[in-house]
Symmetry: C2
């Protein structure tokens, strides 16, 4: 009669990590596939997490002087073509609007009608359409800098999609700034990278390496792409945010010019930077366990669920009164600028109730029955501990201490992820060792293997692409805080002055 | 040498109201036309207003148990076709995606490639795509109600567009709920209408009539459409929010069924409700004057601008220290759940500085120079008063009283708009008078005329459409709190039991 359940998620992470990922999302009710190719439905639990991520990022953006605005969803094809590398980078994966109405065709079937003179592209990113506005907004150096951010949906037609990590439509923010000097633009590029790193580490409990992309991995049209790279539990890398120094490329393409104090006319210097719902995939793969997702308290949709235990009907009123008083007190508590978010789950569905919340990754589960009430205590389970590892705490102590408990969970998640990354980051100087590191033992059934290899690279494209071809391993980034060190390229043995991060990646 | 400026906006409202509207938006830097047909760029001052409107609405939605989620931008044509009236209503104005990439065609020109098997429609509204999810989310009566909201962009291909009021792409929220009974769905329809009315009146200072649309003005596919209708300063109506009882129409179209407690299977009852960036147009046309927009403090992007007056360079440090201390104190003050938002404008551009802020509609302008400092006072201009009507207030009094002053401005705006509506709402029982009321004196140059005519209507389509044809006047709504009253239809003299609101409208 049914096998014994050992973990809430089947398969476990070691059994099949990609499938575990899909099942975790399903079990947590964060998102689901939609009938529209490659598009996802973000369900309330996932969307609230995104709202909290947006809130954290938005606050940090605004603190640096950035203001939000909104630009058209559609980009005329001719705009996209203004920057050659840029259109090249996005032409293969864009949704094209060609008609502006439907009319009855043969057999009364509705067909596209009203063909457009010029096709419109659903924005894959907005440099060119925002650049058009900037070209009108910028007159003199006094108008600079311009610091704009947009929260928006974008579309990149992906053939193979994975919820949150790679979908045809996704939600993101894209910042766009205009500056009078390259120094200032580079400083802004770095500043926004630091914001992303802070979001990742302080809010998402996801340690990241700040680095620079190699030429082949740059944003199409950028002079320089900075990024934050995280390690997932399957030891793959995840690019979690990018910040681009665009030089004058897009200013030339969009004619963003300004008059200097000396009354000469110059092209401006621009940046762009983005982070997306992909971060949610990063959270799942940084902290989940075989029972589901574990949410960092600072961005969790809710912090604590109160589960009244009513075995005898006559206890209900008394238990509920106790629960509601506790709910009110918790809701009046501030946890890092927002109030503690409390769910009350009264459903009488036995053990399934607790398991649902475990799978949803809520930081704290609190059971309250007549026995707990008699002792003026609550029975608390922490999501960062085993599901049986619950403790009885004095009610008032729990209320007074909840902020510390949540902080402890937040810190634990970060430390675990950091230890994991440390344990799976190794310096490799030998080519054979490097190839073995990235080769699974059983080619038929790829298990979790690899990690971050810190190895020397000569800087040549062909070494980078050879390794990519042989091993599906890419240079995730050249760390910004890299120490200079003489060595030999892991691929060709040529001299190299620094190590870079090699890894398989999402 | 230049004519004397009498008003900041040319033309004035009476000279040319539509052109005044465009010029107000331009002068306030709220939005601008984009090179993409019918799409607008919402600039930071306009977008921050939208953020505040979103914040107010979102809080009210969540207080009724609604949660946010996100659904695909694209709707397969076959989904839209599931509800016959619905697709009929939107077929003439939708953006159609037919290809998913670009490739080099003749002369190396990029052309659409990768034709889709089924065209995708950029959502004009999401009943059918959200309905598909609902059909999977709803199993039994225990899953109900489902209360979902989405903040999103939508596209309706408009041929004649006007910033905020009618654009091909606009931002909105769309709520979608599923219920087990028609009573509960109707209650939700009314509840969300009440939320919109509260937003309009309490936050936007825009008095509205809550009413029901006639059959011809209903949302395509709805059983009943409730709405809030406001009067603009040119005496036209503006539909500012709608809430639809969809009956079982969309449940049938999307197969949203549930199992009752008695284990029978029933179609569910659904609602949808939306409000959009059109509300910003309503704010402008409710409160603007011939110097520009006047923003209601509760949603204003900023509440007060501090303008240091430094005539001698040696005063700068002293004045700025005074200004910064004041800024800090004001920012620490709470005004209706958010902090007072302060701008400091140090630009040395003479009188143009004050005028820019007048045109932006900021509630309070504060000038601070050495003389004010010597008297420990500030020189305050309120946007609801004439631009010369400024008063010297003791600094501490101003800080202590700012919340009251802002509330006073908020109330003044509401009362003015309400008086205006009252003065321009009349009961008309005579057909000739009705026709005269809605006919401009000079047909060549339509001036502001008309208003809300409270007249009897027999309920017949042909009377409604005759009046629409003759006068471009529509029934804005049948007020919900309508007293029953015997009368005769303004068009055909047949018996009628109640008056309805006739008006020209946006």
């Amino acid at each position: 009669m049914g096998k014994q359940i050992k973990t809430a998620i089947t398969p476990t992470r070691t059994e099949d990590y990609p499938e575990w990922y899909q099942q975790v999302i399903k079990a947590s009710e964060m998102a689901e596939r939609s009938p529209v190719r490659g598009c996802m439905v973000i369900k309330p639990w996932g969307y609230t997490l995104w709202e909290n991520i947006m809130g954290a990022l938005d606050g940090m953006f605004k603190a640096t002087g950035v203001k939000n605005a909104y630009f058209p969803l559609f980009i005329p094809l001719s705009f996209l073509e203004k920057e050659a590398e840029h259109v090249e980078g996005f032409a293969k994966e864009c949704a094209v609007v060609t008609h502006h109405r439907l009319e009855k065709g043969a057999f009364g079937k509705l067909v596209p009608a009203g063909p457009l003179n010029e096709p419109l592209i659903v924005r894959p990113t907005s440099e060119t359409i925002i650049g058009e506005s900037f070209s009108r907004w910028v007159g003199s150096y006094r108008d600079l800098p311009i610091l704009i951010n947009q929260w928006a949906n974008v579309v990149r037609w992906e053939m193979r999609t994975r919820l949150f990590l790679r979908t045809s439509e996704f939600l993101w923010q894209e910042g766009h700034t205009v500056h009078a000097t390259p120094e200032e633009a580079r400083e802004r590029t770095q500043m926004m990278l630091d914001v992303y790193a802070r979001l990742a580490e302080e809010f998402l409990a996801m340690p990241v390496i700040k680095g620079r992309k190699t030429a082949s991995e740059r944003f199409p049209g950028a002079v320089d792409t900075l990024c934050i790279e995280a390690m997932m539990q399957d030891k793959k890398g995840l690019q979690a945010g990018t910040s681009h120094f665009l030089g004058q490329n897009f200013a030339r393409a969009s004619e963003i010019k300004y008059q200097t104090a000396e009354e000469t006319e110059e092209y401006a210097w621009t940046t762009s930077w983005g982070a997306s719902t992909r971060l949610i995939g990063g959270v799942i793969m940084s902290h989940g366990d075989d029972d589901g997702i574990i949410l960092p308290p600072k961005v969790a949709p809710a912090h604590v669920v109160l589960m009244p235990i009513v075995r005898k009907p006559e206890d209900r009123i008394k238990v509920m009164a106790y629960v509601e008083r506790l709910e009110k007190e918790l809701k009046d508590t501030f946890y890092h600028h927002r109030r503690v978010v409390v769910e009350v789950d009264e459903r009488d569905i036995g053990g399934a109730r607790g398991w649902e919340w475990i799978k949803k990754g809520i930081p704290l589960r609190v059971e309250i029955g007549p026995r707990d009430m008699a002792e003026n205590s609550v029975y608390v389970g922490r999501r960062d501990k085993g599901h049986k590892d619950k403790v009885s705490l004095k009610r008032d102590h729990f209320v007074g201490d909840i902020v510390n408990i949540l902080d402890e969970i937040q810190d634990t998640l970060f430390e675990r992820a950091q230890s994991f990354r440390k344990a799976n980051t190794i310096a490799i100087d030998d080519k054979k060792e490097f190839y073995e590191f990235f080769t699974p033992d059983d080619l038929e059934k790829p298990e979790i293997h690899g990690g971050f290899a810190m190895s020397h690279w000569c800087g040549k494209d062909q070494c980078e692409s050879k390794i990519k071809e042989d091993l599906s391993v890419t240079i995730r980034c050249i760390p910004l805080d890299n120490p200079s060190e003489n060595g030999k390229c892991i691929c060709c043995d040529s001299p190299s002055a620094e190590r870079v991060v090699f890894a398989k990646a999402y």
